[in-house]
């Protein structure tokens, strides 16, 4: 792999790790591990931990994929590896 190829792959992996961190935080974090603590707050009539487990995590997932797809598109163009 040439130098630019390596840099592209490194940037890709960094982006993936960043998105995965958010993915883990909203579901396993807010939805499961900290759910009890978050339940003392309330949002729109929901206990917050319950909300993350049954609503919030899913909204975040949808947003995350589109953000990732957009950023990857920009990365492809920056490193000139996008499809013609």
């Amino acid at each position: 792999m040439d130098k630019s190829g390596k840099a592209y792959w490194k940037a890709t992996c960094t982006l993936i790790i960043q998105v995965l961190a958010v993915w883990f935080f909203v579901s396993f974090g807010c939805g499961i591990l900290f759910a009890d603590a978050l339940n003392s707050f309330s949002v729109g009539g929901y206990p917050l931990g319950f909300w993350f487990a049954q609503q919030g995590a899913m909204y975040c997932f949808v947003i995350m994929i589109f953000v990732y797809a957009h950023l990857m598109g920009k990365l492809d163009e920056k490193f000139d590896v996008h499809e013609e």
Binding site: M1, G5, Y8, W9, T12, I16, V19, L20, W23, S27, F28, G31, I32, L33, A35, D36, N39, V43, G44, G45, Y46, P47, G49, F50, W51, A53, Q54, Q55, A57, M58, Y59, F61, V62, M64, I65, F66, Y68, A69, M72, G73, D76, V81, H82, E83, E84
Partner: protein
């Protein structure tokens, strides 16, 4: 018009639509049969993936299980949506760039070995067949209630219908059929939810209604539900976890990585024109899926409240004090008389999925948690919970319990069948391509003609339907539970192999094969110990492991896939370190797969 006539009419009309589309879009060549010529728009593909994805488990079974599990049911919601994030980032774009149309083909080429491809076929069959068993359970529930036939007849009718359009249509037929099925099933799911949310909370959006105030009180709906279930001795709805935090964590993880390892979902991402589209396609698929998945918890909680209210008249009343409420909940006149029970109960009793047993002989229905009997129940002379409700019926019974119009009930029936049949069709296609293309064409009979390959695929579909139908008559769990096991199998075998194939260019064939076999093996062992060898009832062998269920850290078999995946990764890593390194040209190929440029149209007919 009676409910029965209306149901036949609506179900019949939707079936005519699907079959019509399948005939209209009949596939010609092999690659069209599997991937619809690679020319499907991301939004259309996303919608079809949604229908493919949302099976009887999501539609019929899931909300019923959440209804029973409360907060813990969130593991299905997070698990079955979070996997799309993994799919979009870790697999879809790279598999699309790779340009082959089945999972075993990728494994075979990436790990430069036909044996690896065979192992992948084995993993795929294990996961897909288990999944179809769950679908058949769902089909049985839906038909037994709505067409007034026995559970077994329901399974047979379902088998015939799936066979017809999967075999004659192929992927192209399925893609457009599935768009139609998505529309039917999403309407069928949301319309009753909107009605019920409106009645209970005054808010027509179920996602908001679930957090809203219970009509006529200043309590939230969830607060009211918590109060009702706790009065009756059940755990608090909004905080009850599934067995333990660890189990819930592992279960969620297993469903997520299983999602990213299921062949029929992955195949969808081979059908988009470009790598860029593969990423967006996963996002669109999740949008369409999330519409149902964010509605499901509202359906679950509202169905639970309505179920309690329909047998206990005190549930929806307001009382000035806790003491007054507690007295009323257990007052004799508030438990409804069995001979005055609502019609929906009578209809479900005929299916055998809802049962009443008058334990204290007072002719009234008492429904509560007898394992944690509330003081009031003992004082009132209650001698055990008298109503048994199969969790799989909740979604289908929900509009009946809420007394919605007949056309809504008929629509829900059509939606449930659409969900079950569309997923079964997608899975059958994955099985058929694995057997005809990956096993026969690529390994045993390389000079097989295209016509014979198509024929082999169709025969494989037919056989799978018979096997799955047979096992579906005696299912190992509720529909969603069986499907969760299928996810565990995919999670423990296919996902790690795909991921290592892309992200670790030094991973060699020995490592990948050892990993897949050990991950699948240990997961199957744990599942079969609890559920019986090949799910055959009576062949459980928990005795070998001390006889206690969930013997490994209290993790239930449905959740074990994540542990299997860990074993897979670990074994693969160790074995790859002590066996010959991955050849240079394969490492170059992996590097090439990592960049989008140069992606070609999917090449189905000339695999090598």
């Amino acid at each position: 018009m009676t409910l029965q006539t209306m149901t036949y009419l609506v179900v019949g009309a939707t079936f005519a639509l699907y079959i019509g589309i399948a005939i209209w879009a009949r596939a010609g060549s092999t690659s069209e049969f599997y991937v619809a010529g690679g020319g499907v728009h991301p939004i259309v593909n996303g919608m079809a993936t949604g229908a493919d994805w949302m099976s009887a488990a999501s539609f019929i079974s899931m909300a019923g299980l959440i209804s029973n599990m409360g907060y813990g049911g969130g593991l299905f919601l997070m698990g079955w949506t979070g996997g799309y994030v993994l799919l979009a980032m870790l697999l879809a774009p790279y598999l699309r760039k790779f340009g082959k149309f089945t999972v075993p083909q990728f494994i075979g080429d990436r790990f430069y070995s036909k044996a690896a491809s065979c192992v992948a076929v084995l993993c795929l069959l294990a996961a897909s067949l288990t999944y179809i068993i769950g679908q058949m359970t769902g089909v049985g529930v839906a038909f037994s209630r709505f067409l007034g036939v026995s559970n077994h007849t329901g399974v047979f009718i379902g088998m015939a219908i799936v066979f017809m359009y999967a075999v004659f249509g192929g992927m192209k037929g399925i893609t457009y059929t599935q768009v139609a099925q998505y529309c039917v099933l999403i309407l069928a799911y949301t319309v009753p939810a909107i009605f019920i949310s409106m009645t209970l909370t005054g808010n027509p959006v179920p996602q908001l209604g679930l957090g809203g105030d219970f009509v006529g009180t200043d309590m939230t709906l969830l607060g009211k539900l918590d109060q009702v279930v706790m009065d009756l001795g059940f755990p608090r709805y909004t905080t009850m976890t599934r067995i333990s935090t660890l189990n819930m964590f592992v279960y969620t993880m297993s469903l997520m990585i299983g999602t990213a390892g299921l062949p029929h979902v992955i195949m969808r991402f081979f059908t988009v024109p470009k790598v860029k589209d593969a990423r967006a396609s996963a996002g669109w698929a999740l949008v369409f899926i999330a519409i149902l998945y964010t509605t499901a918890p509202a359906v679950a909680a509202m169905a639970r409240l309505n179920l309690h209210a329909s047998v206990n008249k005190a549930v929806k009343q307001n009382y000035a004090t806790d003491a007054a409420r507690a007295t009323a909940m257990f007052a004799e006149e508030n438990s409804i008389r069995y001979d005055e029970r609502p019609n929906w109960m009578k209809r479900w009793e005929t299916t055998g999925l809802l049962k009443f047993e008058d334990k204290n002989g007072d002719g009234r229905i008492q429904y509560y948690n007898a394992k944690n009997t509330p003081a009031g129940a003992t004082a009132a002379g209650w001698k055990g919970s008298e109503l048994t409700v199969n969790q799989d019926i909740m979604v289908l019974a929900n509009p009946e319990i809420a007394k919605l119009p007949n056309w809504v009930i008929a629509l829900v029936a059509a939606g449930g069948l659409a969900a079950a049949l569309s997923t079964a069709a997608g899975l059958l296609l994955a099985i058929s391509s694995a057997i005809s293309h990956d096993l026969f064409k690529n390994i045993f009979m390389p000079d097989m003609s295209e016509k014979n390959e198509l024929m082999t695929g169709k025969i494989a579909m037919g056989c799978s339907i018979v096997v799955a139908g047979y096992l579906g008559l005696n299912p190992p769990d509720f529909a969603a539970g069986t499907v969760a096991i299928a996810f565990g199998l995919a999670a423990s075998s296919i996902f790690p192999a795909l991921m290592m194939g892309i992200f670790n260019k030094k991973m060699n064939k020995e490592g990948a094969m050892a990993g897949m076999l050990s991950g699948l093996g240990i997961t199957m062992l744990y599942v079969f110990a609890h559920k019986g060898l090949f799910f055959i009832p009576g062949t459980e062998f928990l005795g070998l492991f001390g006889g206690k269920a969930n013997f490994f850290l209290g993790i239930e078999p449905n959740a074990f896939g994540a542990i299997g995946a860990l074993v897979n990764f670990a074994v693969a890593y160790v074995v790859s370190k002590i066996t010959p390194e991955c050849p240079e040209h394969i490492q170059h190929m992996v590097e090439n797969v990592r960049t989008p440029r140069g992606a070609k149209a999917v090449d189905g007919t000339h695999a090598h």
